[in-house]
Symmetry: C2
Subunit: 201 residues, 2 copies
Amino acid sequence: MSARPRFREQFLQAREDAIVASVNRLLAEKGFEAMTVDEVVADVGIAKASLYKHFTSKEELAAAAMVRVLDRTLEELARLRSLDLDALGRLKAVARWAYEQQIAGEMPALPSQNSTLRATLVADKAYMDRLMQLSDELGAWIVQAQGQGHLDPALPPELVLYTLFARACDPVLGVMRASGAHSDAQIVDWLVTSCFRGLGA
Amino acid sequence: MSARPRFREQFLQAREDAIVASVNRLLAEKGFEAMTVDEVVADVGIAKASLYKHFTSKEELAAAAMVRVLDRTLEELARLRSLDLDALGRLKAVARWAYEQQIAGEMPALPSQNSTLRATLVADKAYMDRLMQLSDELGAWIVQAQGQGHLDPALPPELVLYTLFARACDPVLGVMRASGAHSDAQIVDWLVTSCFRGLGA
DNA sequence: GTCTATAAAGCGATAGAC
DNA sequence: GTCTATCGCTTTATAGAC
């Protein structure tokens, strides 16, 4: 923590951002187990030992990328709050946004239940704080939409929440895109529509 | 191919079945990348070299397990065909059956798009034949249900098919079960209902 | 902090005796 | 075919010079 060198701090921050962005894409592309640290450093263009000065393990590296995703999601929620939409409209908009993130290759797969990654994530305060904040905010919209009769009140709000999380990584999007028979916009429309029709009253 | 020893053949077949069953469970539990051959042989109680006399690679091992799942699914389809159900009823029944398989720890995760496993699977005739047969039979029911107005005719049948495949591995089931707040039967009901309400007209 | 070089461990696959 | 023992490679992580 020297007094002067802001340049250096900014440079290091930019490098960390580059690392996390690369990890984010690789996580979306191949998942945590298949992603290797060598690929990350090759992609960023640094030495492996340098990466380990910033992050102490592969798990922590992935956790940083997950935190980044949650941050961007929370930003999107804040943006949506400023728009003139009801609760259901906001939920649909965030689902659509998530699908677009997946198309852009920016949406990492959900960490599988028994991964070594999960242990790191649940122990990571930055990750858990953001996850809980996101759950709280989405949960409020869900309850609100249920109260307005726009979502089925018989479904537990947690089930609706988990369904939205799961659909953000829905493999159906990738398979449909790979078939090449329909436009991305058309596919996203179908998926958002059928998802919310299923959760609807 | 000696003439006499049927005992031995049966014994070997039983051992192969034990291996494949173990692989099936491990695939469901941790996925292909996280599963190790050492775990498999430890679970079955044989030496690693013995396993490699039956299967030439880890990928082929997983492929055999996937073939087993497809076979059991095709059997279930045959059973459902003998029942007095319309197309939608059959599709719902097979979805419910898939969820129950997942609860029993018998439903492996979908092979991720960029896995080394995928290359083996698409080159495996036994796997591809069964996958196509399954797709054809389910596809026929889907088109039929759309014609009867029980499924949304605006959705491409392939999207409906892929959605059913994806929901068979839906992570929402596992998360909801882990919360412990609801019975398995109740959770499955909610998931089947919301899935088909989403695909409905 | 960044690099080159390497340690340490895990993993898929095989050799060779029985 | 099954076993023990081991190979050969990949991968995570670190040592040590600059």
